[in-house]
């Protein structure tokens, strides 16, 4: 059973506009959520995280929002740039001594110039 879901396989936006990537989860015990970015032929790189006790975390052009009651989080990229074109993975973890990350299937973001 998939505990972390990214229901949009792809998203296309214009340069300068906002990109919104969505992620849903089913396990209310998840404590932390992470976003990773992956370019082709490279390993994923960490982008931003959020604790379950917060509802927003911001880092430059990237903001992650968490809605615990809806078990939903989203990554906002403003303004979007062509270099942001990549696959974005949402991941969740229980924290503590459980070190595993549970990943979604990813969303391919294409930012058109």
């Amino acid at each position: 059973d998939q505990q972390v879901k990214q229901n949009s396989p792809s998203l296309s936006v214009q340069e300068g506009r906002i990109s919104i990537l969505n992620c849903d989860y089913t396990n209310s015990m998840f404590d932390y959520f992470l976003w990773y970015k992956k370019y082709p032929a490279e390993g994923p790189t960490f982008l931003i995280s959020i604790s379950s006790i917060k509802d927003k975390n911001e880092d430059g052009r990237f903001t992650v929002f968490l809605n615990k009651s809806a078990k939903h989080l989203s990554l906002h990229i403003v303004p979007s740039q062509p270099g942001d074109s990549a696959v974005y993975f949402c991941a969740a973890t229980f924290g503590g001594s459980n070190y595993k990350l549970t990943f979604g299937k990813g969303t391919l973001l294409t930012v058109n110039p």
Binding site: Q6, P9, D31, Y32, L34, Y36, A41, E42, G43, P44, T45, F46, S49, S51, F89, T93, G95, Y99, K100, L101, F103, G104, K105, G106
Partner: protein, 114 residues
């Protein structure tokens, strides 16, 4: 900067061959992980290790084994490669004390089994 390196970027093997994928990290991380990435399936955990000599099965361990003889090195072994093991293999490591369990990934090995 954390560095995770993988022994090969691209590898081509024949069905039935024994395949070794090596991963080395230089940040003294306790935890190491092997994933495979396939289109439409995301990142799936094969095996992980919390310490030297320790290993735990992930979600898809069938057909794979691992070895961790030294803290910095984690090897993935395909005992008898099959075509359905053609994939991108990603190694990752993480520090045990990190609250949100951020993992650092290597560049990946694209394995093709013919």
């Amino acid at each position: 900067d954390v560095k995770v390196t993988q022994s090969s970027r691209y590898l081509v093997k024949r069905t039935g061959e024994k395949v070794f994928l090596e991963c080395v990290q230089d940040m003294d991380h306790e935890n190491m992980f092997w994933y495979r990435q396939d289109p439409g399936l995301g990142l799936r955990l094969i095996y992980f290790s919390y310490d030297v000599k320790m290993k735990e099965k992930g979600d898809i361990p069938e057909g794979y084994s691992v070895s961790r003889e030294k803290k910095e090195r984690f090897s993935l072994i395909l005992e008898s490669a099959s075509t359905n093991q053609t994939s991108m293999y990603l190694c990752a490591s993480s520090f045990r004390g990190m609250t949100y369990n951020e993992q650092f990934f290597g560049p990946g090995t694209r394995l093709t089994v013919l």
